[in-house]
């Protein structure tokens, strides 16, 4: 049943009940009025009896005649006074016929009117007779007068009796009608009562149904409520857990960490391990993402197997995991756990698509007794992890406060480095390069220096990697190139300038345009510019490297392969890429005089270059012996502290004098600075 239909029925039942109650009230009122009518009828039945009245009149007339007759008999003891009394009584009676109900009764019939008129006239005549002078025959005449009334008076009594009977019959009929009406009303009332009971039962039934419905709805609502609650719980779980591994996510881990730190005072320390998987990306790339997901799940499982109950394992994102250890003792315990984890995660994984071996690095931070925020602890563990990864894969490292200081120092340098270009803190230094056969300075290698306002000169080995990391190397390198070109343009003809390109710079898309701008801005002929590129820049995307090299060479400048022999030093580079010059790394030059293997390498490289039509420059020449050796082996050019250290542009002018040669300068060996 629909609720609307049920409500409709309920309303109908209510209206029905109301109508029944109203009917009952009306019936009761009508019954009451009937009872009043009935009483009225009963009263009418017991009204003044005309029959009695009429018969009394007949009787009194007879008694008057009797008394009169007795008075005629001498010695009877009855005299005229008695006759007079009865005449008065009869007079009284005749007067009664003239008013009240009796008069109405008489007026209804002509015959009765005539009888009463005769009665009245007879009484009148009798009284006249008796009030007149006494005469011997008047009693006899009186008797005769009233004897004439006997028959009519009997008729009157009979008529009254008949009338009374008619009235009684009428009353009885009306009473009978009333009775039937009353019975009908009672029957109707009984019906109403039964209907009322039925309607009430029906109403109760409907109410019960409605209650059942409401209860059912309540049950449904409760069910919905609990469903909603479980949905909420699910949403809460999803918001706080990693969908893949089911481990707490970063959000929840952070909360748990804060809780642990808040409760730290109540006993036990808190140790935090940050974990990073090594070579995870390779697994993803080679075996596919499903295998990667499997691996992450397996890692999660192994981690949970390593920790105690109460510890928290979380996936912070990607291949980053973290472990929160509560109630730990000294830091050694955390280290033990880290060792165990690194060992466990290092075991091979069977991923269906293939076996995989990955490593893990861990950084540990233990909450000190001093107040420590979750963020601080996380950063500390991250720093330790950073250090651990720096130390080599598959290791762990405990956070030390020095790391923080180093990090802070690094941050400070970073900040300064970002502003160094604007503050004009970079300087270009130049180290001369000598042509051995020509016995003259053939050019200068341009070297970038940073003059820090507080630290003084900062080594490129320190800031260049940082600049590469921060993406600053491109603008800085561009500035260095432009500055070197500008400086070189002031030098005499035939003196070249060699500028180093970092691998990042070499692969930047704007390199060729930047070189063009540098040349155009300084008006430096392209052939006087030499760009030095390290081996590491050639490792990636050889097609693009080749294209870049060709473009550069098309500008008319020269290219040199820097630090040859230190990296992968594939001979195929020499064949594949167009270089004009090969620079032999100073590590070979340093040993060339007393290590035969080094000398053999240097000699072969020099021979090879010559065969391939490339010139050679030996770096880091510090002694006369080294120089002699290189000269003997046929090296084209040399540079090093034997001749001069790098100097600012203003301090190299003396090299441009016509008589200048390396023998004429102070060239005491100086430590690298």
């Amino acid at each position: 049943m629909t609720p609307a239909l049920q409500a409709g029925r309920s309303r109908w039942v209510k209206h029905g009940l109301l109508a029944l109650v109203l009917s009952l009230a009306l019936a009761a009122a009508y019954t009451s009025s009937l009872i009043v009518q009935r009483q009225q009828k009963l009263r009418e039945v017991s009204r003044y009896s005309l029959t009695w009245f009429a018969s009394q009149a007949t009787l009194e007339v007879s008694r008057l005649q009797g008394v009169t007759a007795a008075a005629l008999v001498p010695g009877s003891g009855v005299n005229e006074d008695d006759v007079q009394l009865w005449l008065d009584i009869v007079t009284n009676r005749v007067q009664l016929f003239e008013s009240g109900q009796v008069a109405e009764f008489v007026a209804a019939s002509g015959e009765l009117r005539a009888i009463v008129a005769a009665f009245r006239s007879t009484v009148h005549d009798g009284r006249t007779l008796m009030e007149g002078p006494a005469s011997p025959g008047r009693l006899r005449r009186l008797l005769a007068l009233f004897e004439a009334l006997n028959a009519p008076m009997s008729r009157l009594a009979a008529a009254a009796n008949t009338h009374g009977g008619v009235l009684v019959a009428k009353d009885q009929r009306q009473l009978g009608n009333l009775h039937w009406l009353f019975a009908a009303i009672l029957g109707a009332l009984t019906l109403c009562a039964f209907s009322l009971i039925g309607a009430l039962l029906r109403h109760n039934h409907l109410l019960a149904q409605a209650r059942e419905k409401v209860e059912q709805q309540n049950r449904t609502l409760e069910k919905r409520d609990s469903e909603l609650l479980s949905q909420n719980a699910r949403i809460f779980f999803l918001a706080h857990h990693d969908a893949l591994t089911g481990l707490p996510n970063r959000l929840m881990f952070h909360e748990q960490l804060e809780d642990a730190l808040a409760q730290q005072g109540q006993g036990g320390g808190v140790a935090l391990l940050c974990l990073d998987l090594d070579r995870f990306k390779q697994v993803n790339d080679t075996l596919g993402h499903p295998a990667g997901d499997m691996l992450l799940k397996a890692v999660a499982g192994r981690l949970l197997g390593c920790v105690r109950e109460g510890d928290v394992v979380a996936r912070l994102g990607g291949d980053e995991f973290a472990v929160l250890q509560r109630g730990t003792g000294p830091a050694e315990h955390a280290s033990d756990l880290a060792r165990r984890i690194v060992e466990t995660l290092g075991a091979p994984y069977d991923l269906g698509a293939g076996r995989a071996v990955i490593g893990a690095s861990a950084g540990i931070a233990v909450a000190a007794s001093a107040p420590c925020s979750a963020d601080m602890l996380l950063r500390s563990a991250d720093l330790a992890l950073y250090r651990a990864k720096g130390d080599g894969r598959g290791s762990f490292c405990l956070f030390e406060s020095s790391m923080d200081e180093q990090m802070r120092a690094r941050r400070a340098i970073e900040r300064d480095l970002r502003e160094a270009l604007v503050r004009n803190e970079f300087k270009m230094f130049y180290q001369p390069v000598f042509h051995l056969r020509d016995q003259r300075v053939s050019g200068f290698e341009a070297l970038l220096r940073w003059r820090h306002p507080d630290r003084g000169l900062v080594s490129p080995a320190e800031f260049v990697p940082l600049a590469e990391e921060l993406g600053l190397i491109v603008p800085v390198g561009e500035w260095a190139l432009a500055q070197a070109c500008a400086d070189a343009a002031t030098w005499p003809d035939g003196i070249r300038v060699a500028v180093n390109l970092s691998p990042v710079q070499f692969h930047s898309p704007g390199l060729v345009a930047a070189v063009q701008r540098g040349l155009q801005a300084s008006d430096l002929p392209a052939h006087r510019l030499e760009l030095e590129i390290t081996e590491s820049a050639l490792l990636q995307n050889s097609k693009a490297v080749l294209a870049t090299l060709h473009e550069l060479r098309a500008l008319g400048l020269r290219t040199a392969l820097d630090d040859f022999g230190t990296g992968y030093s594939s001979l195929s580079y020499l064949r594949s890429f167009p270089f004009d010059k090969l620079k032999i790394d100073q590590s070979f030059v340093r040993e060339v005089t007393h290590r035969p293997d080094c000398r053999a390498i240097v000699r072969s490289v020099l021979d090879l270059s010559r065969e391939l039509g490339m010139t050679t420059t030996a770096e880091g020449v510090e002694t006369e012996d080294q120089l002699g050796q290189l000269v003997r082996d046929g090296c084209t050019e040399v540079q090093g502290f034997l001749f001069d250290r790098p100097r600012p542009a203003a301090d190299i002018r003396h090299w441009f004098a016509p008589q200048a040669n390396w023998m004429g300068t102070a060239h005491e060996p100086v430590a690298i600075g």
């Binding site: 009263r43 017991s46 009204r47 003044y48 009896s49 009394q56 009194e60 008694r63 009394l85 009865w86 005449l87 008065d88 009584i89 007079t91 009284n92 007067q95 009664l96 008013s99 009240g100 109900q101 009796v102 008069a103």
Partner: protein, 178 residues
């Protein structure tokens, strides 16, 4: 003639009125037998269970004696007249006191030999009157006189019934207390 009144009614009336009648009787007797004799023609004789008498065991009253008991009256509709009339006379209760009645009923005898038994509690409860005048005029025998027992019919519906109309005896000449 007592058969005119159903016996059941009499019994019920006796039971209902007993105590009141006793009270009236005692009050009457307390007065003592100090009834003067009628100076004029007696129009009423009371006999039966009475304590105050002036002619043997009867108490006779002429018109002035009755008037001396104190006149009272009321106006009412009756079956015998078309309009309301005013009756004046002695309250039956007062009369019973005067004669020191100690019965429960009074049997009234009329000149036309009509006899009716009236429970004495009617006198207290309904204020029955022994009327001597109608509309200020003495009633002669030819107009229901000289004495007419009437009830104030307009005061209660139950008085407008055959029972009380039959107790309304006219031309009353004699009362017997039983």
């Amino acid at each position: 003639m007592t058969a005119l009144v159903p016996r059941r009614t009499i019994v019920r009336t006796i039971v209902a009125c007993g105590l009141g009648a006793m009270g009236s009787a005692l009050a009457g007797s307390a007065r003592g037998g100090t009834l003067s004799s009628p100076a004029e023609k007696a129009i009423l004789t009371v006999t039966g269970l009475i304590t105050n008498t002036n002619e043997g065991d009867a108490a006779s009253f002429d018109r002035p004696m009755l008037e001396a008991l104190g006149l009272d009256g009321f106006r009412t509709m009756t079956p015998w007249y078309d309009r309301p009339v005013r009756f004046e006379g002695v309250r039956m209760r007062r009369l019973m006191q005067a004669v020191g009645a100690f019965g429960t009923d009074v049997v009234a005898f009329a000149l036309n030999d009509y006899v009716i038994e009236i429970p004495m509690c009617d006198f207290d409860r309904h204020g029955a009157l022994l009327a001597m005048k109608r509309d200020g005029v003495d009633m002669p025998v030819r107009d229901k006189g000289p004495l007419f027992i009437v009830y104030p019919y307009d005061s209660k519906p139950e008085l407008r019934s055959q029972q009380f109309y039959s107790r309304s005896a006219w031309q009353v000449a004699r009362l017997v207390v039983t």
